[in-house]
């Protein structure tokens, strides 16, 4: 049993590996900063448009820019209210 454990440990299959992977992504994102300066205005405009159809909270719309390789991805996240 102990012998087996010893080899398992060396393979780094535990949750720590997952933690590190998540951290690398998180930290890269944090360091990239808040993104282009038009994002807040875009967010406000989006809320206005969406509110023509359904009432959403101020914080229901989330806009951010992701860097993936050499591509920039604009990510919109809109949470609709429970009806």
């Amino acid at each position: 049993m102990a012998l087996l454990d010893f080899f398992k440990q060396n393979r780094k299959s535990g949750s720590a590996a997952k933690a590190k992977e998540r951290l690398q992504i998180l930290v890269a994102h944090d360091r990239a900063g808040p993104g282009p300066s038009y994002l807040p205005q875009l967010q406000r405009d989006l809320i206005k448009v969406i509110r023509k159809y359904v009432h959403v909270d101020q914080d229901a719309v989330n806009v951010r820019v992701e860097q993936e390789g050499n591509q920039e991805i604009l990510e919109l996240n809109i949470v609709l209210p429970d009806s």
């Binding site: 102990a2 012998l3 010893f6 720590a16 590190k20 951290l23 998180l26 930290v27 944090d30 360091r31």
Partner: protein, 269 residues
């Protein structure tokens, strides 16, 4: 000329106050005139960890607002003649701290001290930025855990952009990493980020690794900084941290699973 050291982290509850008390006590025990300031306005607890809570009459905010002189507010430590403590205010709002006021207090302290240790509150807002603004050195306290490492990374960014040294284009703050609540057993099982994992992400020199230890709670229950508990591994690890701060090169202790020998490792037990 005093050296100003901020103990900071971003995330709360990772061991800043424990570390500030240890560092200040350790520096004073080595003969340096040391002051330690609690910047956690509203939630003061450095005085509790140092065991001087019943002697607090005036605090940092009283001094800044001119209601007491620095000399009146400084509490002389009972164990270390070279150590004084400036408590945080318990009641007032955070706006009571101003950069100008803090700067004046630090200037006055610098005249009669070699080291000034600033215990930062949690967060990356005003209280924390106030504590680190004037720093020459920073100890970034981090637990081997996702949110703590992330917050430390953000704090490192702030240290290098929003401090006096950054704004005045001086030599940057010397930042070093202290990993606390480290459990080599859990690291060996792959359940906890290792020293190398944390360093890979934060890229700072390591000033120490403090093991997870029951002695820390025992010490704070008694109001005696854990660094004075020479029998405990956490106390010894803090002694090493102070020596490293003062320039000694020492290997890191208590970072690997206790020596069981090959036989024990292969066959359990």
């Amino acid at each position: 000329m005093a050296r100003i050291i901020v103990v900071t982290s971003g995330k709360g509850g990772v061991g800043k106050t424990t570390t500030s008390a240890a560092l200040a006590t350790g520096l004073a025990a080595r003969g340096h005139r040391t002051a330690v300031i609690d910047f956690d306005v509203g939630l003061r607890n450095l005085d509790l960890v140092m065991g001087c809570e019943r002697r607090v009459v005036f605090d940092l905010v009283n001094v800044i607002q001119g209601e007491a002189g620095l000399r009146q507010a400084l509490i002389r430590d009972k164990r270390q003649p070279n150590l004084s403590i400036l408590a945080a205010s318990q009641t007032r709002d955070k706006d009571a701290l101003s950069l100008e006021g803090v700067g004046k207090v630090l200037d006055e302290l610098a005249e009669s001290h070699d080291y000034i240790v600033c215990d930062s509150p949690a967060g990356i807002e005003k209280g924390a930025t106030m504590a680190m603004y004037f720093a020459d050195d920073a100890i970034v306290v981090t637990n081997p855990e996702v949110s703590s490492v992330r917050d430390s990374d953000r704090m490192i960014g702030i240290l290098s952009s929003k401090s006096r040294r950054a704004e005045q284009n001086l030599e940057p703050i010397r930042e070093r990493l202290l990993i606390t609540r480290y459990s080599p057993e859990r690291v060996a099982k792959g359940e906890m980020l290792s020293i190398e994992d944390v360093q890979d992400i934060l890229a700072l020199d390591l000033i120490g690794v403090i093991p997870e230890s029951e002695s820390v709670l025992n010490a704070s229950n008694a109001g005696v900084p854990v660094i004075m508990d020479e029998a405990s591994n956490a106390g010894q690890a803090y002694q090493d941290m102070v020596d490293r701060y003062l320039g000694e090169e020492l290997p890191h202790r208590f970072t690997t699973v206790g020596k069981k020998g090959l036989f024990g490792r292969l066959f359990g037990g």
